[in-house]
Symmetry: C2
Subunit: 222 residues, 2 copies
Amino acid sequence: MKVIAVRQKILKANSQAARENRARFSRERVCVVNILGSPGAGKTALLERIAGSNDLSMAVLEGDPETAMDAERMEKAGAAVIQVVTRGTCHLDANMVQLALPRLDYRNRDFLFVENVGNLLCPASFDLGETMRWVVLSTAEGADKPFKYPAAFKTAKAVVINKIDLLPYLDFSMDQVKDGLAQICPKARVFKVSCKTGEGIDPLMGWLRGFSRNPAKTNSKS
Amino acid sequence: MKVIAVRQKILKANSQAARENRARFSRERVCVVNILGSPGAGKTALLERIAGSNDLSMAVLEGDPETAMDAERMEKAGAAVIQVVTRGTCHLDANMVQLALPRLDYRNRDFLFVENVGNLLCPASFDLGETMRWVVLSTAEGADKPFKYPAAFKTAKAVVINKIDLLPYLDFSMDQVKDGLAQICPKARVFKVSCKTGEGIDPLMGWLRGFSRNPAKTNSKS
């Protein structure tokens, strides 16, 4: 019982910081996307693809248990970036985001992407004050994941099924994953993409532009 | 500070239960393998392959945040199995294992495999009283994972690099992963396998037989 009580305290403290973050992001008119996914689902690769589209400006907060590898990749891709190394902690929380923001040039950009720690479980419990959540799921992970990890999918505004270039080599059932998503998160937008080949990225970008602070970009929606 | 103190208390309570489990497994002469890995790394597929080898008897404790899908797969594969559904909890702990054991026919079998929750972070902190730990890493996850998730790899007696059948279609650097493993877990045995095609399973099985309770099987080590 003690564990649960403490967990509730942690989540309560997190909610307070998340509320502050949300108020700040709203005041600053920046759309914040919290990206969840397993290790190697392709979260960074997706952000590289988005950064490669030159009509959107973005900043990235990278969360990893160790190393600054992902921040280095995003820097190369041309995004403003800060790396939060959690030293083994399994998720980002709203306070970590709050502490990192003063050192990230995210204001006046269209989007702030938060790439959460690679983990389909713990990050789902921690509101960061984001505008919306995405889950990236790799086809190589298998089609049963929405059923097995419902908490992450339940709050997703978009589910990005990545690595569709591998479909010919996998026993991945698109029907099973669609069935899972229809049951767990029926309102989520589902995008099928290959961050490797670029396939399917355009529809995602078109939808994303609708959340840009700049109405001109919204109108260029594909 | 409170969080850390509580975490220490949780881990201390876990250590006590893990010690009890370890003493029990030693008394019962059963080799217990705690299998860690990301969602979709291929932990269940590996156990299906091992179960397919008819000269070893095994029991499986399946840990999942939701569903009994994996236990159903193991039952089909002919293993004695119990499913522990953690209802969202991100790891198995020694107490969960203790509570499940009376309902699992694992005694007098060569191996008890514990398939931990799909998560490369939290399960690493929880000793279950196992004989040894394995990490299953899918090539589709990328070669940077040992550097990014060192806690899981650091305590692994074996690292099973799965889905090598996908290598022609991935930008996976075997050199980078070998470099990471050499730095993080230099003593771990590394096996490259495809649970889909069966490639590489034989050397792993040969090594595994060395831990069997039955000396005849040990001598048949390939």
